[in-house]
């Protein structure tokens, strides 16, 4: 089963099999398994959002630093709850009007080339 990795994650995040809890500054936790070709999709339930807090989710390579948000550099792509902005290489662009919040179910899809 794909779960949130217990070691491929920032040490300060609280991780259970299927959930991640963060506080203070952005940090990253990744899944136990990665994908390398084809089309893949995952869903996340946004469980709890204290006032003025936000999350970013997306796709990341193993090279992306764990002590920053997803979308910080060229090795990851992130989607932010605030305004629904997409981020890559620390540049935010308009993506989804209004963003998302606690109680929403969020889906992330990736298309990768299929080996011939």
């Amino acid at each position: 089963n794909v779960i949130v990795s217990s070691n491929d994650r920032a040490f300060q995040l609280t991780v259970a099999n299927y959930s991640v809890t963060g506080f203070e500054g952005y940090a990253m936790a990744r899944a136990s398994h990665g994908v390398s070709k084809g089309t893949w999709y995952f869903e996340v339930y946004f469980d709890d959002q204290p006032d003025d807090s936000h999350v970013r989710i997306g796709w990341s390579q193993v090279h992306a630093p764990l002590q920053a948000c997803v979308g910080y550099n060229k090795f990851s792509y992130g989607w932010r709850s605030k305004h629904g902005t997409k981020f890559h290489d620390a540049k935010g662009k308009k993506y989804h009007f209004g963003g998302f919040k606690q109680g929403d179910t969020l889906g992330c899809l990736i298309h990768l080339p299929v080996d011939k």
Binding site: G25, P65, Q67, A68
Partner: protein
């Protein structure tokens, strides 16, 4: 250590900052300081390592020196660039009269500057910054006999 660090707050007249022979401003001993004595805590904003990396780039872009970033451990850095105390004025020397130690007081890591040897009244307080080696060299102005020639 907890007791001694708190004592430092009441011993401020032990040191003062003034024009330095090495560079800009420096810290000077106002009384004789014995060897291995706590002199001053290096105080600033405690930030994460990656935040420090981003600040270093931002400071360079704005022409602000980034030598006020002092690493505590692999996770944290003290940044005294805009907020801190006068320990930020301590100049580098290749043959310093002080060294730094990271102390853990009630679970909190702090940087404290200690005297390496007896420091006479009027002598400048110096420390070896151990800047990382880089291609673009910056001349060292410490004037010590064992000067390495460059800060980096």
């Amino acid at each position: 250590d907890f007791f001694k660090i708190n004592q430092l707050k009441f011993r401020k007249k032990m040191i003062k900052f003034a024009r330095s022979r090495i560079h800009g401003w420096g810290l000077y001993a106002m009384e004789t300081i014995a060897q291995d004595e706590m002199i001053v805590e290096y105080i600033g904003q405690k930030i994460r390592s990656l935040v420090a990396d981003e600040r270093e780039k931002a400071y360079e872009r704005r022409g602000i020196g980034s030598s006020y970033l002092f690493r505590i451990d692999e996770h944290s850095v003290i940044d005294a660039t805009k907020r801190g105390n006068f320990a930020r004025f301590i100049n580098h020397s290749c043959q310093p009269n002080c060294y730094a130690k990271v102390l853990t007081i009630e679970g909190d890591k702090r940087i404290v500057i200690y005297s390496r040897s007896i420091i006479n009244k009027g002598e400048e307080i110096t420390y070896d910054y151990k800047f990382p080696i880089e291609d673009d060299k910056i001349d060292c102005l410490c004037g010590a006999k064992a000067c390495r020639g460059y800060l980096n």
